[in-house]
């Protein structure tokens, strides 16, 4: 029931009053006050300065589609209303769906409502009789509700009570203007509040995020430090110990231990336990913990499961991790001793296969592990995997090295032993030859000496027939002497014991020496021994003079022996950049057979009958070796039996 306003206003605001209120309200609206204080000031100003009995500001809750009293003036009538309400005035609301009072109607229909009955406005929230009573008590004559408009919708209502009979049009217009201002301001204030809230929320989120990043950074630093330490050593035990120590001292967990897989038995065994007071007690309790073994495929333990499935496992019961192999009661004791509330087992892996596990005891249940803590631990387990893998590889390499060293040692020893044996053998051989030749030569010298003296007549006259026979005996003996000398020389040449000392010299001098030495024998055998010097001046040759002397003696002596009556001629020639010495005789010559066997070891041919005139005696084999060692070549040829022989050998020029 809307009361019509009278044309003539019964109340009017002076221009000054209006301006003043406007100013105060403006001031309140733009002040720094919080929302509540601001609306309170607005309502108080309007009621007081415009002389109303009371005022209530109602605000719409859009979500719940209801309107509630928000701010009240603390005047008599309002206080009474408030007191009359069963609970705090803000608890009361009126539904907009089916408006039961004028406040709701004002909001819903966007209309000003004026009335004389207070109960039209505040009931059923307030008991109607009570409303009437309050009206009488406070002398409320008229009540008005004005919609408070925001930019796009009604956001509330303003209720004012007056003792006057009615509200003038002017008054209503002005009140409407005020109400609109308030509406805008409230909307602004709400918007501002939203922004503030949003800002606060944002700040909090940023602060939380920053805190989290800081924590992550701290964790990363710690991880970095741990990684530095565990990768600074290749000693497996040190790596494991460092990891478990870091878990307690740097990451602040309660305790930790590492178990690794023993490849041969496919069992897990603990390698390192963190060094805290609590764990020291555990160490004492368990004794040599490294002896404990847990099969990797044992399904009863979360520790072995973590390893075989390569997954992280958590539990709050340490027994599930330690038993087997420990007695469950001992596991419980350990848990109590260290005040462990939760356990996490992380597999340690490298190159896709499991190496073992890192088990960590926590001071809180496993489910309270923060995501970040878990990530840190997983990273640690990965680093551990790398470091342990490296350490294992290093261990294996070292073992391999040791094995290698052993083998090399053994091989070297074997070689040294073999060498020593060889040396011994060589020494034994040379000793044998020395002794053998000495032992053989002694009787040979006796025979040779006496026979020569007998044949020379030193022991009296010898008949021709006896002499002849003794001569044969003598020759036979000489063969033995030659044989012994030959054997010695072959042995010397074979074992490299003949040392050559090549020097430049004139070969003609050596040849002349040899001629001189063999002259008596040649004379005795009626052989002409001739050295025909060349017309050109031979250049110096290089070689071991002593040995080449022997070579010449051998060849010339041979020729003399094999030339019953005739000539032995020595000549010099130039041959392919070397000097050639030729010894030619017109003696018994050689068959093709003889020629083919000439310079071989122990040949019986030409030098079967050698007589020594100094030096050690050489066979043609040794002669050949000496010529060749000197850098030359040797040849022997004959047209045939009875047609003489020619031996030639070369010597390099100096």
């Amino acid at each position: 029931m809307m009361a019509k306003s009278k044309e003539k206003s019964s109340h009017y605001f002076s221009a000054a009053q209006t301006l003043s209120v406007l100013q105060k309200i403006s001031a309140a609206l733009v002040s720094d006050l919080d929302f509540e204080s601001m609306t309170q000031r607005v309502v108080d100003t309007m009621v007081k300065d415009l002389q109303y009995l009371g005022g209530i500001l109602f605000l719409v809750n859009k979500k719940k589609n209801e309107v509630r009293a928000y701010t009240t003036s603390s005047t008599k009538v309002i206080n009474a209303i408030v007191k009359a309400l069963p609970s705090s005035f803000r608890d009361h609301y009126t539904k907009l769906q089916d408006p039961k009072d004028n406040v709701a109607r004002t909001v819903k229909y966007n209309k000003v409502y004026i009335g004389n009955r207070l109960s039209d406005f505040i009931s059923p929230a307030v008991d109607a009789n009570m409303a009437d009573w309050i009206q009488r008590f406070a002398r409320v004559k008229s009540t008005i509700t004005i919609p408070v408009r925001g930019k796009q919708e009604i956001i509330g209502a303003l209720l004012l009570n007056t003792e006057r009979d009615e509200f003038s049009d002017e008054e209503i217009t002005i009140l409407q203007a005020f109400a609109n201002q308030v509406g805008v301001a409230i909307e602004n204030a709400r918007f501002y509040q939203q922004i503030n809230n949003f800002n606060t929320e944002l700040k909090q989120k940023v602060s939380e995020a920053t805190a989290q990043i800081q924590r992550q950074y701290q964790d990363l630093l710690v991880l970095r430090k741990i990684t530095d330490i565990i990768t600074s050593t290749l000693d497996l035990q040190k790596v494991c110990q460092e990891i478990v120590n870091s878990v307690t001292t740097r990451l602040n967990f309660v305790a930790g231990f590492i178990s690794l897989i023993d490849a041969e038995t496919y069992q897990l065994y603990p390698t390192a336990i963190s060094e805290t007071a609590g764990m020291d007690k555990v160490r004492n309790l368990l004794g040599d913990f490294r002896k404990l073994r847990l099969a990797v495929d044992d399904k009863r333990s979360k520790l072995s499961q973590a390893v075989s499935n390569m997954e992280v496992y958590t539990t709050d019961n340490l027994t599930e991790v330690l038993s087997p192999p420990l007695n469950p009661r001992i596991a419980q004791r350990i848990q109590k001793m260290n005040k462990i509330a939760g356990v996490i087992v992380l597999p340690i892996m490298a190159q896709g296969r499991a190496l073992g596990a890192l088990t960590i005891g926590l001071d809180k249940p496993a489910e309270e592990i923060m995501k970040q803590e878990k990530e840190t631990l997983i990273t640690l387990a990965n680093e551990a995997g790398l470091a342990i893998d490296n350490a294992l590889l290093f261990e294996r390499t070292q073992q391999f090295n040791v094995q290698l060293k052993d083998e090399v040692s053994r091989a070297t020893k074997e070689l040294r032993d073999a060498n020593a044996k060889l040396k011994k053998l060589d020494k034994a051989k040379s000793e044998f030859i020395s002794i053998a030749s000495h032992q053989l030569r002694t009787p040979l010298s006796t025979i040779k000496g006496y026979l020569s003296m007998i044949l020379a007549g030193d022991y009296g006259m010898v008949t021709d027939s006896v002499g002849k026979v003794l001569g044969r005996v003598y020759n036979s003996n000489e063969r033995l002497v030659t044989l012994v000398n030959n054997m010695l020389n072959v042995s010397r040449i074979e074992s490299g014991r003949i040392t050559m000392q090549p020097k430049p010299f004139q070969i003609e001098n050596t040849i002349e020496d040899v001629m001189g030495e063999l002259a008596p024998e040649a004379k005795a055998r009626r052989v002409d021994l001739i050295f025909k010097k060349p017309t050109w001046q031979p250049k110096k040759v290089i070689g071991d003079k002593r040995l080449l002397h022997e070579v010449l003696v051998n060849l010339v002596d041979n020729s003399i022996k094999y030339t019953p009556h005739g000539t032995v001629k020595v000549t010099l020639h130039r041959h392919f950049g070397q000097l050639e010495v030729r010894v030619k005789d017109d003696g018994v010559g050689m068959t093709k057979d003889d020629q083919s066997r000439l310079f071989k070891k122990f040949s019986r041919g030409r030098d079967a009958y050698r007589h020594y005139t100094g030096g050690s005696g050489l066979g043609l084999y040794v002669v050949r070796r000496l010529v060749e060692m000197n850098g030359g070549t040797i040849q022997g040829s004959s047209p045939g039996r009875g047609k003489g022989s020619t031996f030639k050998f070369t010597i390099p020029y100096a």
Binding site: H438, T442, S445, G449, M453, D458, R492, G614, S616
Partner: protein
């Protein structure tokens, strides 16, 4: 009558000793014999020889040691020594020459006559000194 040349023969083989003694006596030398190194060193201080024929392989003290002692003794070091032996390895010859022998003869390679020639040659060299 020119004084006989005294030759000191150190040889442990009885047959060879007698053989060389006979030959050298026939050639007009005065022969002093010794059968081993110790005897040799003893006798040498008595009447000094003009030349020594020294075997190497002997019991107890070998010829090299005797040669060393002869050369170490100022009374005897000037006496020419010919090593007369059946040991003939390069090392032995080298050692003998280095110890101061004037010649090294392998018994099996030389008749007693040839040994006499060698002795005379060595004495000739000594005289020329």
């Amino acid at each position: 009558m020119p004084e006989k040349i005294r030759i000191f023969l150190v040889e442990d083989d009885q047959d060879l000793q007698e053989m060389y003694e006979t030959k050298f006596t026939m050639e007009g030398f005065e022969v002093v014999k010794a059968e081993n190194g110790a005897a040799a060193l003893n006798k040498i201080t008595g009447d000094k020889p003009d030349i020594i024929l020294l075997d190497i392989v002997m019991p107890e003290i070998d010829g090299f040691q005797v040669l060393k002692d002869i050369k170490a003794n100022p009374d005897t070091k000037e006496i020419p020594v010919i090593l007369l032996t059946n040991l003939g390895q390069d090392g032995d010859i080298k050692k003998g020459m280095e110890l101061g022998a004037v010649d090294y003869l392998i018994k099996a390679n030389f008749t007693p006559n040839e040994v006499v020639e060698k002795v005379k040659k060595a004495l000739g060299n000594t005289e020329e000194k």
